[in-house]
Symmetry: D2
């Protein structure tokens, strides 16, 4: 049976909240999903999942270093992720502060691993974005993304 994981790095708690909403939504739509901080997993744990969602605060326009280290440690084995479903999200302090480039940086790492990534024709196209603490708009975006990831994963895996 297909399984999902949401991996996040969070200091303020905002990215963690987004992670929990997405993971809960994925579960509600029928994809059993774990939700873990990056320091609770080994990179190779990702091989056991069909959908991999990665969330980071917006630090200098890219994912936080511990998440980048998780990807870097996959060198030589990332082919095992080929064909799985991937998605990304980010929390940021400011509009225009690097949230989109952070999400696209995660998506680029995922494409290099051979993951399949979906956009969204509405709302936060590349992936959910929160400016500051997640509000109702962000909650709705995260739930919607969880649903879309789940539907795609059911088709592919």
């Amino acid at each position: 049976m297909a399984k999902g994981i949401v991996v996040y790095y969070s200091r303020s708690g905002n990215t963690k909240k987004m992670a929990e909403i997405i993971a809960e939504s994925m579960g509600n739509f029928g994809l059993k999903t774990d939700c873990k901080s990056v320091d609770q997993i080994k990179p190779t744990d990702l091989f056991g999942y069909d959908a991999i969602v990665v969330g980071s605060p917006t630090y200098y326009g890219g994912m936080a270093a511990p998440l980048k280290q998780m990807f870097d440690d996959l060198v030589g084995s990332h082919g095992k992720l080929d064909g799985k479903v991937g998605a990304a999200f980010s929390s940021a302090a400011n509009i225009g502060g690097g949230n989109e480039t952070t999400i696209m940086g995660i998506i680029e790492a995922m494409l290099i691993c051979g993951l399949v990534v979906c956009g969204d024709p509405q709302g936060d196209h590349y992936g959910p974005v929160s400016i500051g603490e997640p509000d109702d708009r962000v909650r709705q975006q995260c739930q919607r993304r969880g649903q879309r990831i789940t539907e795609l994963t059911k088709k592919i895996c």
Copy 2:
């Protein structure tokens, strides 16, 4: 029955050659695929396809303006592309001349339309790249990409 299209803009002929190899490969793997220059289609024609592949020369780090105009003209109706499969490729004059940012620019436009995009854990991860005229390496990358797009389209559509 699922159908694909490869849309390209080409002046030197290099992008066109890549387009033809990808389209032929998609056909060989079982996805009937049209191959057209951007001036041969209307943007709304894209609604009739299940897999959409877009190729551009590398001009100033982004897709050629006529291809960007094709996307811009979808405003208000791009939701009809939601869930289709997308992929991108580029030819360039030089290494490091903007080919990856051109491909990622096309992928960003596709994600905004709700397309599903796949990477590749080997070779040209984001999409096939040719430096100058397509050689054997590029031909193999284009054929491989055609196969991967086809396999994903069969799963999703």
Copy 3:
């Protein structure tokens, strides 16, 4: 004497408003600056300026096609822009809707022309972003950017 230009494409008027604020700020800080819609200039007109600021609505994660055409038409002569100062800004309908990738796409085109681009350690780091109509926050970001562009231009040119 150094001169600047702000070139924009605008349909809703939001990008135009941002352009006017930036151009006015550049003038106030001592850099005589023209403000023109992209259809009012020839691409080669850019050679006559020391600072070039380009603004676009956020269309599919990249600059509007007429602005991309302006860059594409510089092929063969863009070396004449080498060493000038560049900057970018964007208006968008939504947070996370592609405004940062639009700005970075313009910056990538500028780097390919050899322009010198500055960020900002505060606020809208890559360039001013407006979500919807420019408000006080956006006005302040645009004024600040106009000042920074002017100061850099005076040092370099």
Copy 4:
């Protein structure tokens, strides 16, 4: 008197070789420049330099995690880098393997710190790229970039 630094992360030695060529070129053109592996510096050491050049292997489309950690550790103090000159370079295993997105990721981090970044109208526009071990083409690109960084730094600082 103005000073420069080239900071790199390297395992194969390719990025280190590029770093040394760039640093030597900067010195030859008159900017005294240190060349250090990221593990030999503290992030706050960067405050003492006028030109900061960062080089990374191409890992998953972005800079290596230890370099990202260097930037992440600047949170709260990156304003001290405002107005300095920045540049980036990368070595990669393959064409189309993520080298441009790696360089642009470094440039995005630099823009967020307020650095001033220059492109190049010829060759490797965003920054020098080596596919595999640096060859004569790469050596020439690195020397040229070192010259350009130095000339810009002398104007600004």
